[in-house]
C-alpha cells in the first residue's frame, strides 16, 4: 500500500471493512500498531485511541491479488512459485540458487528486493516445505536450514509451527507439550490415537519422510528455458540477443530429442512486475533456430520493455516429433512437405494473422460450396478424388447474387438475364442440373443450375431456387463464371 501511495510511509493508517454492521480494522500499518491499534478493532474505537489515523477501505480480495502478483514476480527467482494462503509464498528453488551465487546471497537478494518494495517479509530455506514454513513463521529470520538438520531446527519451536488443526493446537499445551521437541519422539501409534492422522502427516512432511507437492501459479512447461539478465534490458537489440541465446539452448535440446515446437511463447519479466509476451506458431514442428528467430523477431517490436526486462523465458507450449528429413527427401517430390514452404507460410502467418492460409480437399457433397473442405494440415491427403464429371465454374461467388431473368416456364433456361445493370442475351445453354439441398443438414429448396453462354461468349452459372407453381415465383441467382 505504501508503494502505491508513498505519502503514507510514516503516517499510521489502517484498512477497514464493514462487518456485521460495524466497521472493523482488517489490516494495521506498522506505525499504527506501535500506537496501540490492532486488526479486529472496531473503527470507532480506533479513532478514539488515535484521532489522526488514516482510514482506508479494504478490498476483500486485495491480499489475494497481491499475493498472486508477488508470486508471479517471484518467477524471476524460480519457475515454480506457489501461493500459500492466506499470507505466504512457497518457492521451489532447487537448482536456482547458484545463479545468485549461493543460497545465502539468493535469500538476501530476494528479501532485499521485497523489503525495497515495502513488504515486511520473513523467509526461510529448508529441505522440506514443512520445515521452511515452521522456521520462517516461528524461527529466526533469514534462516537457512541445512540438509538433514530439520529435527534440530524444529525441536524448540511451538507446535503451531507444524500447521496443525486448531483443535490439536488447543489440546497440546494442556498436556504440557509446548515444544515440538516434547512430542517428536513419542510413539507414532500414541500420537495417532490422541491427535489423529493429520498430526503424523504434518510431522512427516516437515521431516521429509513424506513428499509434499505445491501447485505452481504458472504450470511449468516441460520444454522451457530461462535467461536471467544481470542488468535490465531495454533495447530491441538486447532483446534480440537474449532471444537468440535462449533459442539456441532450447533448439539444441529439441534437436537432441528429435522434437520440434509448434507453438512457443516468449516472455519478458519486467522490472515493474509486468510480463510482456509474444506467441508464435508454426505449420510444421520446427527446431530450426534461424527460422524461429525470424518468426519471433517480427514481433519483438510489440514488446514494451519500459524500465527494463530482467528475465526472459521461452516455452514450447506444443511440441511434436519431427519426421526425419531424409524420408521426404527420398520419396516425395511434393514441395508441400518441404520445410522451406512451411517456413514461408509461418512467416506470412506471423505477419498477417493465422487465418490466411487455406488449402482445400474434396468433400463428398454435391452442393458446390460444400464440395470442398479446408485441410487441417499441409500434409493431409485428399480422402476422395476430385470429381470432374460435372463442370464447375472457376469463379464462384461467395454469395449467389439475385438476377432478373426472362425465362419460359416450367423449366427452360432463361432467354436473357440482367446482372449488375447489364443485360445478357443467352445464346447457348446446357440442360439443367438439379442439386437438392441436403435435408439432413439444413433443408431448403432445391436449385436448378444452368450453364449459359451469352452473345459475347461469356459463360455463367445461373440457378433457379425451387419450382414454379401457382403462388410461387422462384428467384433466379447467378453463382459463378466459367472459364
Amino acid at each position: 500500500m505504501i508503494r502505491r501511495q508513498p505519502h503514507l510511509k510514516d503516517v499510521p493508517f489502517v484498512l477497514a471493512l464493514p462487518d456485521r454492521g460495524k466497521i472493523i480494522l482488517t489490516e494495521v500499518s506498522a506505525a499504527a500498531q506501535d500506537r496501540g491499534l490492532f486488526a479486529g478493532m472496531v473503527a470507532a474505537d480506533a479513532t478514539v485511541v488515535l484521532p489522526e489515523v488514516v482510514m482506508l477501505d479494504d478490498k476483500p480480495d486485495l491480499t489475494q491479488r497481491l499475493l498472486q502478483n508477488l508470486a508471479l514476480w517471484c518467477i524471476r527467482y524460480t519457475p515454480t512459485t506457489a501461493i500459500d494462503a492466506p499470507d505466504g509464498l512457497i518457492l521451489d528453488v532447487t537448482g536456482c540458487t547458484h545463479l545468485w551465487g549461493g543460497e545465502e546471497n539468493y535469500l538476501r537478494n530476494l528479501i532485499g528486493k521485497l523489503k525495497e518494495f515495502g513488504y515486511h517479509v520473513r523467509a526461510a530455506m529448508a529441505d522440506t516445505i514443512g520445515t521452511a514454513w515452521a522456521i520462517c513463521r516461528h524461527g529466526k529470520i533469514k534462516a537457512i536450514i541445512k540438509s538433514g538438520e530439520q529435527v534440530e531446527a524444529l525441536m524448540t519451536l511451538p507446535p503451531a509451527a507444524l500447521r496443525l488443526e486448531i483443535d490439536t493446537l488447543d489440546q497440546l499445551p494442556k498436556l504440557g507439550l509446548n515444544q515440538i521437541g516434547s512430542f517428536l519422539n513419542m510413539q507414532r501409534s500414541a500420537l495417532r490415537r490422541r491427535f489423529g492422522q493429520q498430526m503424523l502427516l504434518r510431522l512427516d512432511q516437515a521431516l521429509g519422510k513424506k513428499e509434499e507437492f505445491i501447485e505452481p501459479v504458472i504450470p511449468v512447461e516441460p520444454y522451457g528455458e530461462r535467461l536471467p539478465c544481470l542488468e535490465p534490458i531495454q533495447t530491441a537489440k538486447g532483446i534480440e540477443i537474449a532471444l537468440e541465446t535462449i533459442l539456441e539452448v532450447l533448439c539444441s535440446r529439441l534437436q537432441k530429442e528429435g522434437k520440434g515446437l509448434r507453438v512457443a511463447s516468449f516472455k519478458g519479466y519486467r522490472v515493474d512486475e509486468k510480463i510482456e509476451q509474444v506467441q508464435i506458431s508454426t505449420n510444421h514442428p520446427s527446431n530450426n533456430t534461424e527460422h524461429l528467430f525470424k518468426l519471433i523477431q517480427q514481433k519483438i517490436e510489440t514488446i514494451e520493455p519500459a524500465l527494463g526486462i530482467e528475465l526472459f523465458t521461452l516455452e514450447a507450449l506444443k511440441v511434436e516429433d519431427i519426421q526425419p528429413t531424409q524420408q521426404t527427401f527420398w520419396t516425395s517430390n511434393s514441395s508441400l512437405e518441404s520445410s522451406e514452404v512451411s517456413q514461408l507460410l509461418d512467416r506470412l502467418e506471423s505477419k498477417f494473422g493465422n487465418k490466411i492460409v487455406h488449402r482445400y480437399l474434396p468433400d463428398e457433397h454435391h452442393l458446390p460450396e460444400r464440395s470442398i473442405k479446408l485441410a487441417t494440415s499441409l500434409k493431409e491427403p485428399p480422402a476422395t478424388s476430385w470429381q470432374i464429371e460435372k463442370v464447375r465454374p472457376i469463379q464462384l461467388l461467395r454469395v449467389p447474387e439475385l438476377i432478373h431473368v426472362t425465362a419460359p416456364i416450367p423449366d427452360y433456361p432463361p432467354m436473357n438475364f440482367r446482372y449488375k445493370g447489364q443485360v445478357h442475351k443467352i445464346i447457348k445453354a446446357d440442360a439443367c442440373e438439379r442439386l437438392e439441398s441436403e435435408w439432413w443438414a439444413d433443408g431448403g429448396l432445391h436449385r436448378d443450375y444452368y450453364i449459359v453462354e451469352d452473345e459475347e461468349g461469356k459463360r455463367h452459372w445461373l440457378f433457379r431456387l425451387g419450382h414454379y407453381d401457382n403462388d410461387n415465383n422462384p428467384s433466379w441467382f447467378i453463382h459463378g463464371f466459367f472459364a
Binding site: 517430390n333 511434393s334 514441395s335 508441400l336 518441404s338 522451406e340 514452404v341 514461408l344 507460410l345 512467416r347 506470412l348 505477419k351 498477417f352 490466411i356 492460409v357 487455406h358 488449402r359 482445400y360 480437399l361 474434396p362 458446390p368 464440395s371 470442398i372 485441410a375 499441409l378 491427403p381 485428399p382 476430385w386 470429381q387 470432374i388 463442370v391 464447375r392 465454374p393 472457376i394 469463379q395 464462384l396 461467388l397 461467395r398 445464346i427 447457348k428 445453354a429 446446357d430 440442360a431 450453364i451 449459359v452 453462354e453 452473345e455 459475347e456 461468349g457 461469356k458 459463360r459 455463367h460 459463378g480 463464371f481 466459367f482 472459364a483
Partner: protein, 244 residues
C-alpha cells in the same frame, strides 16, 4: 562482311536476353505447353519460367477465362515441382474447378489477405521460396519499381510468377517478360449441336520481350490446348461422340 555482322548481332542478342530477365538455365524444366505457336512466340521457342507474366482482365467473366488459362499453364508447371501458391485479397476462384484444367487443387495453397499492399509483400516473399512451382498474385495496381522487385526475386529463385491484374486503374508498363489478355469467346459444338461447348478463349499475347506477340483462338479439350480454325469439322469423330 554481312555474314560476320549478322553473326555478331545474333550473338549480342543472345547475350542481351539473360540481362533482360529472360534467361533459361540448364537446370530449368522445359515446359511443354502442348501448343507450338505460343511457345514459338518466345525467344528460343521456350516458354520462359523463372520470370513474371502479366495478365490483364477487364470483367469478372474474363477473369474466369484468365484464371482458366493460368490453371492450364499451372498444370504443366506443377508437374515438376509440385505446389504453387495463390495469393489474393479478393479471391472468388473455386478450387474444385482447377481440376478440369489439370491442376490439382490440393497442391495449391491459397493465401487470402485483407489488403492489396499485403498481397504485394506476400507475392515477393513467396517468389523467394525455391521449392514451389509458381506464384499467382491477384494484384490490381503495381508500380514499375515493385514489379522489378518481383521480377528479380523470380529470376533468383527460378519460380514463375503470374500477376493477374483485374480492372487496374491504369495499365502501366511493368517489368515482366510478357503481357497477356485472355477473353472468353463463344463456344461451339461439333455439327452445330446445341449446348455449351468446351472452354474457348481468345488468347492475346500483347507484349513479349524479344518475341512475337500473337492472337490465337484456343479451346481447352481433354487436358490440352487446341487451336480453333474456322472450320471446326476437323474434330475427330470419336470426340464428337464423347461430347454428346
Amino acid at each position: 562482311m554481312d555474314a560476320v555482322r549478322k553473326e555478331i548481332i545474333s550473338r549480342l542478342e543472345r547475350e542481351i536476353l539473360p540481362l533482360e530477365g529472360l534467361k533459361s538455365l540448364a537446370t530449368d524444366n522445359h515446359i511443354n505447353l502442348g501448343f507450338r505457336p505460343i511457345e514459338a512466340s518466345f525467344p528460343n521457342a521456350i516458354f520462359p519460367v523463372g520470370c513474371i507474366h502479366e495478365f490483364l482482365s477487364s470483367s469478372k467473366q474474363n477473369l474466369a477465362a484468365t484464371n482458366g488459362f493460368i490453371a492450364s499453364l499451372l498444370s504443366k508447371l506443377m508437374q515438376f515441382k509440385g505446389a504453387s501458391i495463390w495469393i489474393s485479397a479478393s479471391r472468388t476462384l473455386f478450387p474444385a474447378a482447377l481440376q478440369q484444367f489439370g491442376a490439382e487443387p490440393h497442391q495449391i495453397i491459397f493465401i487470402d489477405l485483407k489488403k492489396e499492399k499485403d498481397v504485394m509483400y506476400a507475392v515477393e516473399e513467396a517468389l523467394k521460396c525455391t521449392r514451389i512451382a509458381a506464384v499467382i498474385g491477384e494484384l490490381k495496381d503495381i508500380t514499375f519499381k515493385e514489379s522489378r522487385r518481383l521480377q528479380l526475386a523470380a529470376e533468383q529463385s527460378r519460380v514463375t510468377g503470374f500477376l493477374v491484374r483485374h480492372q487496374p486503374k491504369i495499365v502501366n508498363t511493368i517489368a515482366c517478360v510478357s503481357r497477356w489478355r485472355i477473353t472468353s469467346s463463344r463456344s461451339e459444338l461439333a455439327d452445330g449441336l446445341p449446348g455449351v461447348g468446351f472452354p474457348r478463349w481468345n488468347v492475346e499475347l500483347l507484349k513479349v520481350r524479344n518475341g512475337k506477340p500473337g492472337i490465337w483462338q484456343l479451346e481447352w479439350q481433354y487436358n490440352h490446348l487446341h487451336e480453333i480454325r474456322k472450320n471446326i469439322a476437323s474434330i475427330s469423330q470419336e470426340e464428337v461422340r464423347k461430347t454428346g
